[in-house]
């Protein structure tokens, strides 16, 4: 299912699920993004790491269509979707669950805000939520759930909009380290079963390497992609992966790139 670290060789090729071409984004005098290009293959999991202010979130805002680039293009399945919304699933560190909607009500939010919720949407949401650890909480209001559970609901909501490309912006950043590890394993399980393409922003190097087929390292001022590292660690990955020599050396390389020390 995953591309296993095999990266497409030429930019703009029709084969890529998501292609970003020469994206530049300026806010006043600040160059938030400078000629960022990247490609993600279908079913691939790509992490983006970088310090605060490196333009990770801006990149996501452009790809999702919230912010228009100046200039640059965003292609999904070869189709130009630059500056238009409604073609990716988007999830933030804040779960943004709607307090007056139940777990199921939140999962079907995408349908509710566009065409109206059908019986089928509800059945699918119930099955999805029950399958991935929310059984018994389907009719609960969000305030009764823990932080980890809330992020599960947020991811289910992101999956339920049926977009192939998922942008996850530090989704586990606000969780404690144990819950975060549990959620990472859970995300890998969900990803391996549902054929989705994931672009995952984090500033946690362990998380980036553990989850991804490839890690893109971004540097700030101006925001650009400084390096790309293929993660050729076999799947399925689990806790043991975190202490293997392969994992450690990849982590050392990413840290070196981030902090400018010799790898």
């Amino acid at each position: 299912m995953s591309a296993g670290g095999g990266r497409p060789s030429t930019l703009g090729s029709v084969g890529a699920k998501l292609a970003v071409e020469d994206l530049t984004c300026r806010f006043g005098d600040t160059l938030a993004l400078s000629e960022v290009s990247l490609e993600v293959g279908a079913g691939e999991f790509v992490s983006i790491v970088g310090p605060s202010g490196c333009g990770k979130s801006t990149l996501f805002n452009v790809v999702s269509g919230l912010v228009p680039p100046t200039p640059g293009r965003v292609l999904i399945d070869g189709r130009d979707v630059t500056g238009s919304t409604g073609h990716v699933g988007y999830m933030l560190q804040k779960d943004l669950l709607v307090p007056w909607r139940t777990v199921v009500g939140n999962v079907v939010l995408g349908a509710a805000l566009t065409r109206g919720v059908t019986r089928r949407d509800v059945q699918e949401a119930r099955a999805l939520a029950a399958r991935y650890g929310l059984e018994g909480f389907l009719d609960h209001y969000p305030h009764t759930l823990s932080g980890g559970m809330r992020q599960r609901v947020a991811l289910m909501r992101t999956l339920a909009v049926h977009e192939d490309v998922l942008l996850l912006d530090e989704p586990f950043g606000a969780l404690d380290s144990q819950t975060r590890l549990e959620m990472q394993r859970w995300l890998l399980e969900v990803w391996s079963e549902l054929d989705r393409t994931v672009l995952f922003v984090t500033h946690d190097v362990d998380e980036a390497v553990f989850l991804a087929d490839r890690v893109l390292v971004m540097t700030p001022r101006p925001g650009r992609i400084a390096a790309e590292i293929a993660v050729e660690i076999p799947r399925p990955r689990d806790l043991g992966t975190l202490t293997t020599p392969g994992f450690m050396s990849l982590k050392r390389r990413v840290l070196g790139l981030l902090y400018g020390e010799a790898a």
Binding site: L66, T85, A127, Y141
Partner: protein, 279 residues
Amino acid sequence: MRRASKYLIPVGAVIGVFVVWDLVIRILDVKPYLVPSPGSALRAIRDDWDVLSGLTWTTVQETALGFVTGATAGFALAVLMSRWALVQRVVYPVLIASQAIPVVAIAAPLVIVFGFGLTPKVLIVAFIVFFPVVVNVLDGLASVDRDLLNLARVMDGRALRVLLLIELPATLTPLFSALKLGATYAVTGAVLGEWTASLTPGLGNYLLVQNSRLNTDAVYGAVLLLAAIGVIGFLIVAGLERMATPWRARSTARRWWRRPAEVGSSPPMPVSEDVSVSE
């Protein structure tokens, strides 16, 4: 036990006020024509009930109609103001200036325009209820997380659906705070209206007439009835609040509110069968 004490304590507190009132009258030997005992105030209500029931009904009508008018207008105006920044910038200063006018002062000109009927009283009540509703609903609309609205945009949410499903529900809690204040203030508005424009008499007029006759039993009786209108109004609003915002008091949705789909039925899903959920 818990449930019982929830209702027993407030009821007991009200009875306590009457008991203290009665004790103070007895111990200090207050003359009945200055302040009557609660017993004689209640007796005055009973003895004059044939008249009072009609007057109470008039005051209730003024209060309720004015309350609904003011709340509806306030809510609608707040939504319009939040939609169009220009409307907000034009209307807000006018609103604030309007609230600086003493309610008593606008009562007289309202009578000149609308006569002595129900209308000026309803408008005075509405004028009092209106302002806190506008301010609180605007606050509620402004409290919606920008990121949630962005998420709705990424999902291609339709503007009307976003308004109905995300923005308006966010106003319910502050709206009900304003309505609970309004429910008690509304009675004051009705009485002020009656004092200015008094061809269709209500409890306010009755109170003035009995006061001029030094019939303090009846005055206090009228005060008790006015207080009862305010308290019942408050309780109705509080009850509506519980029904309208179930997520604040409950952990799960009410059964009749849940979406009609069976858990057991299996929709087509691209997932494998042997999944164990890691907890």
